[in-house]
C-alpha cells in the first residue's frame, strides 16, 4: 500500500538507527505520547534497537486507557437500561468498569453494538425510532471531529432518540501535566501526528517555550517513529528546544480548519479526570449547553455515579511513564488481556497489552531503569 510500505523499509530503519546511535552521546528520556506509536515501538522492538542512552517512556495517549472509571460505570449503567442501543468503538467493550464490562452487559441481554464510524450510531437511531441510541464518544482530538459530526447530523436530520456520552481528552494539557510534575524524567516528546492533523501545531509552541522541551510531530510507521526520535535526540544533543514536524505528509501547522470550526461549535473545554492519573485542568471537551438535548449524561441522569479504582492496578504510574508495564507486580499474573485490572491491558494501544503481547517473556528491568 502506497504511503505505508515505503515507511517500513528495514534498510532505511537501520540507517536511521545508526544515525541515532552516533548522535546520542548522553542519556536521554523521550516520551511518545500516542498509544499508536507505543504499539509501533513495542511491536517492532524499536525501544530495544535504540542505543542504551535513548530511553522511550510510554505516555498516556491511549484514550480507552485514560477514560475514567466512573465514566465507564456511567456507560455501563446506560447500556444496561431497557430500550437502549449502546454503540461504541470496539476497543471499549472489554474495558473493565467497577464490576462488569460492556461485553458482559451484552451477554446479559443488553443491546451493545460495535460501530466503525460514529455516523453508524446515528443511522441506528434512525432505523430504531422506538429505542434510545447512545454513542460513547471517547478519544483525543483525532476522534473528536467524527463524534462532533454525530450531533450535527442528528440535529440536521431530526433524530431525537440519539445522544452522545462524551469523554474527550486533549493532548496539550496532558503534556503540560507531565512536564510540571516533579517526578517527570521526560526530556523530549514525539507529538501525536493525527492529533496535529486535526489541531495543527500552534498549541505546542507555548509548551516548547515554557519547558524548553523539544517537541517533534511524528507519524506512526516505523520510519516515522525513528525519524521523530532522531530529530528529538539531535535537538537535545545540540542543546536546543524547538517545535518540529517530522510528519508533513499529514500535518500542516494550521491543521484542519473545517474540523476545528466544527469542534468549536459543538464542544467546550472542561477539566477532565484521566483514569489512573487524576484530574488534569482543561484537558477535556464536553458538549456545549446548546447541544444539551443530545447529552447522554443529562438524558439518563447518571452523573451521580462515582467509582474507586483497584489498588492492585498501577496503570497511573505506567501512563505517566514512572513504571514499565512488566515492572508492575500484577503484570501477567493478576492482570492479563483475558482478565484485565486496568484499561492499558485491554486496548491494543495500551502499553500493558503491548508488553503482554510482544514482551512478556522478557525479564523485567528493575524499577527506575
Amino acid at each position: 500500500m502506497k504511503y505505508l510500505d515505503e515507511f517500513n523499509d528495514p534498510e532505511l530503519a537501520a540507517a536511521l538507527l545508526d544515525d541515532i546511535r552516533k548522535t546520542a552521546t548522553k542519556p536521554w528520556a523521550l516520551m511518545e505520547v500516542c498509544g499508536g506509536q507505543t504499539h509501533t515501538i513495542v511491536r517492532n522492538g524499536i525501544d530495544q534497537l535504540l542505543p542504551e542512552q535513548v530511553e522511550m517512556i510510554h505516555g498516556p495517549g491511549c484514550p480507552v486507557c485514560v477514560t475514567p472509571l466512573e465514566m465507564i460505570d456511567r456507560a455501563l449503567a446506560i447500556a444496561a437500561m431497557p430500550d437502549v442501543i449502546f454503540c461504541t468503538f470496539g476497543d471499549m467493550v472489554r474495558v473493565p468498569g467497577s464490576n462488569v464490562d460492556l461485553l458482559r452487559i451484552k451477554a446479559g441481554g443488553g443491546d451493545v453494538r460495535i460501530v466503525y464510524s460514529p455516523l453508524d450510531a446515528v443511522k441506528a437511531a434512525i432505523d430504531n425510532p422506538d429505542k434510545q441510541v447512545v454513542f460513547f464518544g471517547i478519544g483525543f482530538e483525532t476522534t473528536a471531529p467524527a463524534n462532533a459530526m454525530t450531533v450535527l447530523q442528528a440535529d440536521r436530520l431530526g433524530v431525537p432518540n440519539f445522544s452522545l456520552l462524551v469523554s474527550h481528552v486533549r493532548v496539550p494539557p496532558a503534556i503540560e501535566a507531565i512536564m510540571s510534575s516533579p517526578l517527570s524524567r521526560v526530556q523530549g516528546f514525539l507529538a501525536a501526528g493525527h492529533v496535529c492533523t486535526v489541531m495543527g501545531m500552534g498549541e505546542y509552541v507555548p509548551l516548547v517555550e515554557k519547558y524548553s522541551v523539544p517537541i517533534v510531530v511524528t507519524g506512526f510507521e516505523p520510519l516515522d517513529v525513528l525519524e521523530g526520535i532522531r530529530r528529538v535526540v539531535a535537538q537535545l544533543e545540540r542543546g536546543v528546544a524547538q517545535l518540529d514536524n517530522a510528519y508533513p505528509r499529514a500535518v500542516s501547522f494550521e491543521g484542519n480548519a473545517v474540523a476545528q470550526k466544527v469542534l468549536a461549535d459543538v464542544f467546550e473545554v472542561t477539566d477532565r479526570m484521566w483514569r489512573g492519573i487524576g484530574m488534569i485542568p482543561q484537558s477535556g471537551w464536553r458538549l456545549q449547553d446548546k447541544w444539551a438535548k443530545f447529552d447522554a449524561e443529562k438524558r439518563f441522569d447518571v452523573s451521580a455515579i462515582t467509582a474507586t479504582e483497584s489498588p492492585d492496578c498501577h496503570s497511573g504510574e505506567v501512563l505517566q511513564g514512572l513504571l514499565k508495564p512488566n515492572q508492575c507486580p500484577a503484570f501477567g499474573t493478576l492482570c492479563s488481556p483475558a482478565h484485565p485490572l486496568g484499561a492499558p491491558m485491554v486496548s491494543s494501544e495500551g502499553a500493558c497489552a503491548a508488553y503482554y503481547q510482544f514482551r512478556r517473556l522478557d525479564a523485567p528491568s528493575p524499577v527506575g531503569a
Binding site: L16, V64, Y116, H194, F220, A246, S252
Partner: protein, 85 residues
Amino acid sequence: MCLGVPGKVEEIWEADGTTMARVDFGGVRKDVCLAYVPDLQVGDYTIVHVGFALTKVDEASAEETLSLLRDIGALEAELGVTFQK
C-alpha cells in the same frame, strides 16, 4: 485509537447532505465521510480515521521525507557504517 489509515479515493457522492467517498485501503474498501476534507478528488490519497477523512496526503511532502531518509541511508552507507544487531 488515533489510527489513521492511508487510502485512495475511488468514488465520491452525496448522501444525507454529506459528501461521502469509497476509499480503497490496499484492497479493503470502506465508505468514508468527506465533510472535513471537502476538496478531495478521485485519485487522491487521504488519511482516514473512524470513517472520516482527516487530510489529503501531501504527496510532495511524502516524497521529500522519503528523500531525506534515503539521504541519511546513503550517508551511512558512504561512511561505511554497518548496522549492528
